[in-house]
């Protein structure tokens, strides 16, 4: 009996996923994931040591998958197409419904594309574009799944909040950037010291309320920089074969 369950719960998954490798990103020559650069890898240990996983998860859930029909071009008869569009539901469709809608628009002379989108509460909160999959954790030594969500999921925080300064301010004084934040400050990852000959380029640019006394500055310790490197390296939102979606590039201004 023990052997059977050991085979089913330890041996079989090991055979299946033990040899997991990088996988191609959909429609791209790139592979995923990349090994973490050294500093970010150190940051994982800082994350672990500070118990961030007690309040944050790194696993996005997905309930379902849907199709969005997007107009690519209105064709020769834009008025007819836009009148038709006003009468149709274009988002959150099943595959069959999306096909039917595309056919109608194509018949009216428009050109459409069908986008695949993941759906679920986590996706709606903006925590990711798809569910987390095994590949996301390939290079994590001690995976930081977490189980309690006092704060938001961080699986894609590097894409959501890519500004290193914001992250440093948030660690030093969460309330300086998020009003009423319940996250505890991690001040011991920073040093407050007397300004020397010239202010350090690393010094935090804190709002008055949180700033140290005149003549002093707050600079991040190496651990804080490593932790931020790790956070900015969390990008579990590329499309993969086992977690497909249509990436949509928002035109840059």
């Amino acid at each position: 009996m023990l052997l059977v369950s050991w085979s089913a719960f330890v041996l079989a998954p090991q055979l299946q996923l033990g040899g997991a490798k990088q996988v191609p990103v959909l429609n791209s020559t790139e592979v995923y994931p990349h090994t973490r650069p050294g500093e970010a890898n150190q940051g994982l240990q800082v994350y672990r040591a500070n118990g961030c996983a007690a309040c944050h998860t790194e696993q996005v859930q997905q309930d379902g998958v849907a199709c969005d029909v997007v107009l690519a071009s209105a064709g020769k008869n834009p008025d007819a197409v836009s009148n038709l569009l006003a009468t149709l539901t274009l988002r959150g469709l099943s595959q069959e419904a999306a096909q039917a809608v595309s056919d109608k628009i194509t018949a009216a002379g428009g050109k459409v594309e069908t986008h695949i989108v993941a759906v679920g509460p986590d996706i709606a909160r903006g925590w990711g574009l798809r569910h987390s999959v095994a590949e996301d954790f390939l290079y994590d030594n001690l995976v930081q799944f977490g189980s309690l969500r006092i704060g938001p999921d961080l699986a894609g925080v590097g894409s959501r909040l890519p500004d290193a300064n914001w992250q440093l301010l948030h660690l030093y004084a969460p309330q300086s950037v998020v009003k009423g934040s319940l996250m505890p400050p991690f001040r011991y990852l920073f040093t407050t010291r007397k300004i020397g000959a010239a202010p350090s380029p690393d010094a935090l640019n804190l709002p008055k309320e949180f700033a140290p006394a005149d003549g002093y500055e707050v600079v991040p310790k190496p651990e804080a920089k490593e932790l931020v490197a790790y956070l900015l390296n969390l990008h579990a939102d590329v499309p993969l074969y086992d977690a497909p979606f249509t990436p949509v590039v928002v035109a840059k201004p």
């Binding site: 299946q16 791209s28 020559t29 095994a134 499309p239 086992d242 979606f245 035109a251």
Partner: protein, 199 residues
Amino acid sequence: MSEPAPSTPAGAELVSDRSQSPMWIFVLTLTLLYLGAVYFDRHSGWFDKDVYSPYANAAMLESYQPKSGAAMAAAQGRRVYEQVCGLCHGADGLGKPGQAPALAGSEWVIAAGHNRLAHIPLLGINGQISVAGKGWNLGMAAMGASLSDSDLAAVLTYIRTSWGNQAGEVTADDIKNIRAGLGGHLQPMSSDQLLAMPE
């Protein structure tokens, strides 16, 4: 006080009879097993390591792979740009002083045709070049060998349509034709050579 339970009549012997378990238990068990097997077959993905819920099986997962189209091409173009060109030309396409000229607003990028433009990454470019009224004299290595037709087409489309640039799309077939037309030419182009060829 409740009545004592009636005991076996004195003298009667206790015999275990051979009454059968009721038939419905078997039917119910088998039906449940059958339904379970059907559910398993439909939803387990047969232990395929790529199939997780909400995908029930490999065929469903396959059917939800996004089809190529403008959105996919744009994503591909951005990825190639950020990996290859962005280091020099900047993620914002504004170029970097002393390193590379801007692509945003560059007449080379937003030209009506894409023939000259495609030659730049295919063969590289060397020497004096004027970009949006500013003179440059640097060099950019050829990247034609390491970029597939579809990657190059996607990245050129991306730079032609980003940061306020509004020019036409470049297709993989366009690149294929231009590549075929290179013949044995492998030297980096100069600005004059480029200007001598059709837009």
